[in-house]
């Protein structure tokens, strides 16, 4: 590799550093905002809401219409292939984080999945591993940090990237580095592929997101709560886990509200 290439690689780091910079900036800003009576999980609501409005508007006016056209043109099967490909490509992240959490069975399953789907599944477009009932672990560094005991910190609404929190913002940055390949290609390649990945994903959820907008009385809070709940469930490995040893959500307050507490 020539030295001339180096600035190129530097620039490729932008998404990672950007996310980290935002996360750190918001973390520093947190005490400023927490003076008001915001819920504990969302001290940055005053910053998050305008960003959410921006994301939501962008989605309504650009992403959703484009995804609707894409959905119309693309056969459903092809959409699934694309989704399979990107899921399969996440293998290094899943594998590394299985190991970091000491989940050897899951790490092995993720290897098995990757090998089967990359070969028999033709580069990951097919998903024979699911057909063969190989478990599909879903791990990332945000979950690993949660497993290690780090609390989520302030809820973050990131421009374009959507809901996150301090812990997951850091996790996203670290996972971004472990993807490695974007450092070896021109900047536009990861940008275009990621854009395409989101477009395809969005096209698979046209109806559901429309429904969620319709059902919620406050879509911002709907997304925030759903995000935080879902992440905690993933960290606890509670979703679809029928193992009795897995604890339920700490739900005493939810299912047995104390009538004497204000």
């Amino acid at each position: 590799m020539t030295t001339a290439k180096r600035p190129e690689r530097q620039r490729n780091r932008t998404p990672v550093t950007l996310v980290l910079a935002i996360a750190i900036a918001l973390a520093l800003a947190a005490p400023l905002a927490s003076a008001s009576a915001q819920p504990e999980s969302d001290p940055l609501e005053k910053i998050n809401r305008p960003i959410f409005r921006f994301n939501d508007g962008l989605d309504r006016w650009v992403l959703e219409p484009v995804a609707t056209g894409y959905d119309y043109v693309m056969p459903e099967r092809a959409q699934t292939w694309v989704e399979n490909f990107f899921t399969n490509a996440r293998f290094p992240i899943v594998f590394a984080n299985c190991l970091l959490q000491g989940k050897l069975d899951e790490a092995a399953a993720s290897v098995g999945r990757f090998v089967v789907n990359s070969t028999v599944g033709v580069g990951g477009f097919g998903d024979p591993a699911t057909y063969l009932k190989v478990p599909a672990p879903d791990e990332d560094f945000g979950q690993t940090l949660g497993k290690w005991g780090l609390r989520p910190g302030a809820y973050l609404m990131l421009p374009l990237l959507g809901p996150s929190d301090l812990r997951d913002g850091i996790g996203m940055g670290i996972d971004g580095v472990t993807r490695v390949w974007p450092f070896f290609v021109d900047t536009w390649v990861p940008v275009v592929t990621t854009g395409f990945q989101y477009l395809n994903l969005r096209s698979l959820y046209l109806e559901r997101i429309r429904d969620s907008r319709t059902q919620s009385v406050d879509f911002y809070v709907f997304v925030r709560d759903a995000y935080l709940q879902r992440r905690q469930s993933l960290i606890d490995d509670r979703i679809g886990n029928t193992d009795d040893r897995v604890p339920s959500a700490s739900d005493n307050d939810l299912y047995f509200p104390d009538p004497n507490k204000e």
Binding site: Y205, R208, D211, V221, D225, S233, L254
Partner: protein, 212 residues
């Protein structure tokens, strides 16, 4: 971003099935197991949804009747308001019961037709604190992959009743509680009642995002 999509899909789906869990309560002396309760109820709901002799409104009416007759909606109301329940006067409570029920019917009932060709498989269950029970299921869809849906049950007068639906790890009650809490914090019970009334009148159209 992917997580957002996954979680956003889970809730509508969960509530579409909410009448399911609350529906059938056997009157037999030795009641059915929680798993049987969920399975039987899900099948009854799917039967209604797939009944071609019923139009959309009739289906809704049928499911609501099931829900009213056999669920403890009052407890669900209390859970959804949490500690804020105390702020409500008696008349506000009964008004909330009415408006909240209509809200569920208007917003979630709209979408029941999408779920007619799906199937529920009970995958497991576990006892919870104070005699509650969670039944774990998988919603098998024709396309788009399976979804994990858990049902939280409680015993009332010797029968199981549905308390909550947890879709892909997201509790419906908790999610609604968060949304209602935010509105209660801004304007108290009257404001929440007003927002729900507006929502019902709009027939479930999206509300503008609240300014911060």
């Amino acid at each position: 971003m992917k997580a957002l999509f996954a979680l956003v899909i889970a809730l509508p789906l969960a509530l579409a099935l909410a009448p399911a869990g609350a529906a059938s309560v056997a009157r037999a002396e030795t009641g059915p197991s929680p798993e049987q309760f969920v399975e039987k109820t899900a099948n009854e709901v799917l039967e209604v949804l797939g009944d071609k002799s019923l139009d959309h409104d009739k289906k809704i009416a049928r499911l609501e009747a099931m829900l009213d007759q056999r669920s403890d909606f009052e407890t669900v109301t209390k859970l959804v308001l949490g500690a804020s329940y105390r702020q409500f006067s008696d008349s506000q409570r009964s008004e909330f019961l009415k408006v909240f029920r209509e809200y569920l019917s208007v917003t979630y009932g709209k979408q029941i037709d999408k779920y007619a060709d799906q199937r529920i498989v009970v995958t497991g269950g576990r006892p919870e604190a104070r005699g509650d029970y969670t039944v774990q299921t998988k919603l098998v869809r024709k396309s788009g992959g399976d979804l994990v849906v858990d049902y939280r049950l409680r015993q009332k007068d010797g029968h199981w009743v549905l308390l909550d639906v947890i879709g892909e790890g997201i509790s419906l009650i908790a999610n609604l509680r968060s949304q209602f809490q935010e509105i209660l914090g801004r304007g108290g019970p009257d404001r929440l009642l007003q927002v729900l009334r507006e929502k019902n009148a709009a027939g479930g159209d999206p509300l503008p995002i609240q300014p911060s």
